[in-house]
Amino acid sequence: MAAVTSNSTREEQVKALQKKEARRRRLPLLPALLFTIVVTQVPFLMSLYYSFTKWTVTPPSPREWIGIENYTDAFTNMFFRQAAMTSVIMTLTSVVLSVILGTGVALLLDRKFFGQGFVRTLIITPFLVMPVVAGLVWKNQMFSAAFGVLNWVLNQVGVESIEFASKFPRWSIVGVLVWQWTPFMMLIILAGLQGQSSSVIEAAKVDGASPRATFFQITLPHLRPYIELGVLLGSIYLIQVFDHIVVMTGGGPGSTNVPLFVNQRSIGGGWRFGSASAFSIVVVVATIILATFGLRVLSGLLEGEEAA
């Protein structure tokens, strides 16, 4: 009995010492952590504060605490709901289309052939083009009624010119985004294809799988985590799309997404910082809820599958 007691006190002592030691060792890391938290959270907290105020620059007026009025406005604002819808649709369609096309291109590239490096370079290039330029090039050289390649092709088959960017603003933008993001998805998925053990494919061949069955039953499940990563990274960037829209449609019908909407209401001319902040906070909270909920469900499903 006595021995046990002394053992446990000794254990406690050791634990306390270890704790102290650990604290001393992590000390040098605190500044970086603190800086990160401050730099990333302070603007957010400031926005949170602004969102409860009425604050307009033109006409200039003092900042005034108005409680949740901005939020009730946000939830009833039809244009905001439209912008949120546009954000969701644009992001989803661009991500899905670039993943599908990227997978196709990756499958085509996953072989040895003459001119491989050259082809890869050509395909990747759109990903590196500055958004403003990408938007302008497509608007002026692809979609334009006068000098657009698409319309030139249409004219050749006897169809009249269409000013795509103003007739289909949302889908024109999605087109450009897909052009820029397919290469990125291709890179990730190609890595997935090259990471697949060749003997698994051979085993499927010996087991009697046709190329089609091999792709859908063996390769695609293997690619799933790669596709998920592509979707995640693509969504992070595509939800913030702004430059393309400004130069292509300026927010024409159906192409105003949340960033553009918030911008229009704040630094883009509206100067109603209070309500703009409230819109943003709503979006952040919605995203966090969606993301955590979605991730829970998703990982729950995955774990269930693992355990089954």
Partner: protein
């Protein structure tokens, strides 16, 4: 059963196989051509004069007499300060380089902290940091503009006294304001990406280093950083592309201050100005795109590896 798929087929089968195996390559070249049309058109236009560009599509260069020249490039690179790309290139570097390197330095340290140091509230701090990925930039731009143009002041209620929390550093309209902003916005993504990677490093390496007597600081510098080169490079590519190609933040922070403008604004202005200089846009875009191409293709072997490690179990 269909034995034609087997690459040993003789005679007719072999001929069919050869045709079939040619399809992917053909399809690939087709995709490549389609994908390159916009870039190619831009390239062609960068060599065409103003009137040509205004009056016809770029493909007419192959049928018409409309000549090509290097004039646009010459103008873009040498013309007076009102539209010199060269000057704005310097500004772009002044923004993109610190905005790439500083977040990496901070985020690597913080990611290591989040991944390998136990402290209270670690998970919450991590989630709070990473969830800021979803914040529309515009939200944070408002408070930041406030900070840069006047510092931060807190007026205490009832006492009629104003405290200056952060003085006015006169950052408004400078490249410093732009890269500071990019640094802040880059951090959540950097931490997210680096944390994925660093938390996936093998635990025994750290334990063996600790047995060898290394503290966290040494472990970080001697082990974590060298092992993390791929993910650091991957983030560097992302962040460099983002900051170099960014229009929104630069335009918000710098706007019309010509001497501080990066290339993106200079080029966008070419399209503006009532189209006076629009014919220079293509050439300017190519000059501007040269550097991201160099950065990407020199680091590309790390790019995918860095993104994948930690998120996808090989």
């Amino acid at each position: 059963m269909a034995s034609t798929q087997f690459p040993g087929t003789r005679g007719v089968g072999k001929a069919i196989y050869r045709v079939l195996s040619g399809i992917p390559t053909g399809a690939l070249w087709f995709v490549v051509v389609i994908w390159s049309i916009p870039t190619f058109g831009l390239a062609v236009n960068s060599f065409r004069g103003r009137d040509d560009q205004r009056n016809s599509g770029w493909w007419t260069v192959f049928s018409d007499e409309g000549g090509t020249s290097l004039d646009n490039y010459e103008t873009v690179l040498t013309a007076s300060s009102t539209n010199s790309i060269l000057e704005s290139l310097a500004n772009s570097f002044a923004i993109a380089i610190p905005a790439t390197i500083i977040p990496i330095a901070i985020a690597a340290f913080a990611a290591y902290g989040f991944a390998w140091i136990d402290f209270k509230g670690r998970e919450w701090a991590f989630i709070a940091t990473v969830s800021l990925l979803a914040v529309p930039l515009q939200v944070a731009l408002i408070p930041l503009l406030q900070l840069y143009s006047g510092g931060a002041h807190l007026t205490l209620p009832l006492m009629d006294k104003t405290l200056t929390l952060i003085p006015d550093f006169g950052l408004a309209g400078t490249t410093t304001a732009v890269w500071l902003t990019h640094t802040g916005f880059g951090l959540p993504f950097a931490i997210f990406l680096l944390h994925n990677y660093i938390s996936g490093l093998p635990k025994d390496v750290f334990e063996s280093a600790r047995i060898d007597g290394a503290d966290h600081f040494t472990i970080f510098w001697r082990i974590v950083l060298p092992l993390s080169v791929p993910v650091l490079a991957a983030f560097a590519i992302f962040q460099f592309l983002w900051t170099w190609n960014d229009f929104l933040i630069a335009n918000t922070m710098i706007g019309a201050q010509r001497t501080e403008q990066p290339t993106t604004i200079a080029i966008a202005n070419l399209a503006g100005d009532y189209g006076r200089n629009e014919h220079l846009l293509a050439a300017g875009a190519f000059v501007q795109a040269f550097f991201p191409l160099v950065v990407f293709f020199s680091l590309q072997r790390y790019f995918v590896r860095g993104l994948l490690a930690g998120s996808v179990k090989g």
